[in-house]
């Protein structure tokens, strides 16, 4: 087995991302949202105020902002270098295509993860001080799951970036994913439910397979993980395909599958 080689690429990626103004703005926004959440939660959230229950307070914002940042830092990782030709410069050095993808993903993800952890840490301080309660392990779980959620969407963005050869297509696909999963998914689910009820096919509950499909969307999976593992006040459906353990499996599949499929395609193509 060859030594792991993607270190210098990851370092370069992180340094380049920090120089990009748009990325600094996005990371700043994330920290602002976390801190604002931590400030508002003790004021408007229900008692008791603990770092465990804080997760449910913040999750609505995170399920919009984290996918946006993940997709934006991921979708041009490969394809813009490929279009310009600087990809050839990287691959002229002793890196495999796998090193390249790993370096790109982990370099960008490293900064993103640091931002998430930093933001949540600051928020945690605001929640605990002066009247809240620190519950350590659920809060760590919350941070870990949120980093995982960020990884999921960054990986999805990188997968899009590998699968197409032009930046335009990657942009369209990335915004398509954001629009579908983050902006209209719930509306879509309501519309389907409403339509099925109107034609008399169901009386309120979606059939199992359809409910499973709607619940498999990453944000919804992340929400069930928080409700099932982190927030003591959260509750998750008892049906096996809607419970938190199935959500955990789906979460891992979302991270691995798109990236794996896109890499398989990318590793065989002519550059």
């Amino acid at each position: 087995m060859r030594r792991v080689q993607w270190g210098p690429i990851a370092r370069e990626e992180a340094a380049l991302l920090l120089r990009a103004r748009s990325a600094r703005w996005l990371f700043g926004l994330l920290i602002f949202v976390c801190v604002a959440g931590g400030y508002l939660y003790p004021v408007v959230g229900p008692e008791p105020h603990t770092t465990a229950r804080f997760s449910s307070f913040l999750i609505g914002w995170l399920t919009t902002l984290v996918p946006l940042i993940g997709l934006l830092i991921g979708y041009n990782a490969i394809c813009s270098d490929r279009a310009s030709g600087s990809l050839l410069l990287t691959l002229s050095m002793p890196y495999s295509r796998r090193d390249l993808v790993a370096g790109k993903l982990f370099g960008r993800m490293g900064l993103f993860a640091a931002t998430i952890v930093g933001g949540l840490l600051a928020a945690g301080v605001l929640v605990v001080y002066p009247y809240g309660e620190l519950v350590v392990s659920p809060f760590l779980g919350f941070a870990a799951l949120t980093v995982g959620f960020g990884l999921l969407y960054t990986a999805l963005g990188v997968a899009i970036s590998m699968a197409v050869s032009t930046k335009q297509r990657a942009t369209v696909l990335a915004f398509g994913v954001f629009f579908l999963f983050v902006l209209v998914w719930d509306v879509l689910e309501m519309a389907v439910t409403f339509a099925l009820v109107r034609v008399g096919f169901i009386d309120g509950e979606l059939p199992g397979i359809v409910a499973f499909l709607f619940a498999a969307e990453p944000g919804s999976v992340y929400g069930r993980l928080i409700a099932g593992f982190v927030d003591p006040a959260g509750s998750v459906s008892g049906t096996w395909y809607l419970n938190e353990w199935t959500a955990l499996v789906l979460f891992c599949l979302w991270i691995v599958c798109p990236l794996g499929l896109a890499f398989w395609r990318f590793s065989e193509c002519d550059l």
Partner: protein, 305 residues
């Protein structure tokens, strides 16, 4: 072990055959020139060596490591100036070199590298502001990092002025002196002629010749070129010349009155006698030593039939 070993490599893009069963061996320590007009398939072969492109058939190795199966091992001893690259947007020239040093786990001094390729003064500028020639020097600098055993240079002098091209040649020679094998492609004969031990000529995806410069000259029969003026357009004249033993190539000018023939020294008189026998009146003739330029045109030009 050979530095480069290409075995039966073909590459097909749809209906276009970019490379047709190319076999090629480059020995360690050589300066090897890879010649051919634009679009002949030179870059395709280099891209296969670098695993940027997958061959349709055949295989290639660099120092014994298969370029497709084990591309990183193949690239580990390599310095590359690829074709169609672009520099990194937000990095300065010096940061480019530093990146190459980290990536290759080398301990070169970035300033020394910049000085060597002649862009030390511009090392702290963003490389995206560089001219084509400066970018070319920068990427050559990245290729030189870590004392590679093999330099793969795709059209290294493109974008360089004559002065820069001469510097490039000196660097190639110095690297070879150090012990590196150099493989570079060019569509300009005189650059290859000046430094190469051996050359390969690629035309339309076919390897039409692999030899030393001297060998190529000799294969043209001592380099004799006959320029014959005849009394008028005679369709039979070209046929007659081509059928004469010892004739390598023959072509006719557009008005049909001038024949240009390359042949062995001994065949000169046979050509003239043959023409006379076929009833063609020779008005005038002269001989020239075939230059490599002629040879290159003969090998790659459309006039060869």
């Amino acid at each position: 072990m050979s530095a480069i070993e290409v075995t039966g490599v073909s590459k097909r893009y749809g209906s276009l055959l970019a490379l047709d069963r190319v076999d090629l061996t480059v020995e360690e320590g050589e300066i090897f020139g890879f010649l051919g007009p634009n679009g002949a398939g030179k870059s395709t072969l280099l891209n296969i060596l670098l695993d940027f492109t997958k061959p349709t058939h055949g295989s290639a190795t660099i120092f014994g490591a298969d370029c497709q199966v084990n591309p990183v091992a193949a690239r580990e001893r390599l310095g590359v100036l690829p074709e169609g690259y672009d520099v990194y947007d937000r990095l300065t020239g010096r940061e480019h070199i530093e990146y190459a040093i980290r990536s290759k786990d080398a301990d070169d001094d970035p300033v020394a590298v910049l000085r060597r390729v002649g862009i030390r003064e511009d090392g702290d500028r963003k490389a995206s502001e560089y001219s084509k020639g400066m970018a070319q020097r920068l990427v050559l600098g990245m290729a030189l990092v870590g004392e590679p055993d093999l330099l793969l240079l795709d059209e290294p002098t493109s974008g360089l002025d004559p002065n820069g091209a001469a510097e490039m040649r000196r660097i190639i020679e110095a690297e070879n002196e150090r012990g590196a094998t150099v493989f570079f492609s060019s569509h300009i004969l005189e650059q290859v002629q000046a430094v190469c031990d051996r050359v390969a000529i690629l035309q339309g995806g076919d390897l039409v010749a692999v030899d030393t410069i001297q060998g190529l000259r000799e294969s043209l029969g001592g380099g004799t070129k006959l320029i014959i003026t005849i009394d008028g357009h005679r369709p039979s004249a070209l046929e007659t010349v081509r059928e004469t033993a010892g004739v390598e190539t023959a072509r006719v000018s557009e008005d049909g009155t001038t024949l240009t023939v390359t042949c062995t020294n001994d065949a000169k008189m046979d050509v003239l006698v043959g023409l006379h026998g076929a009833g063609v009146d020779v008005v005038n003739f002269r001989t020239e030593e075939a230059s490599l330029e002629d040879m290159f045109i003969e090998y790659t030009g459309g006039s060869r039939q």
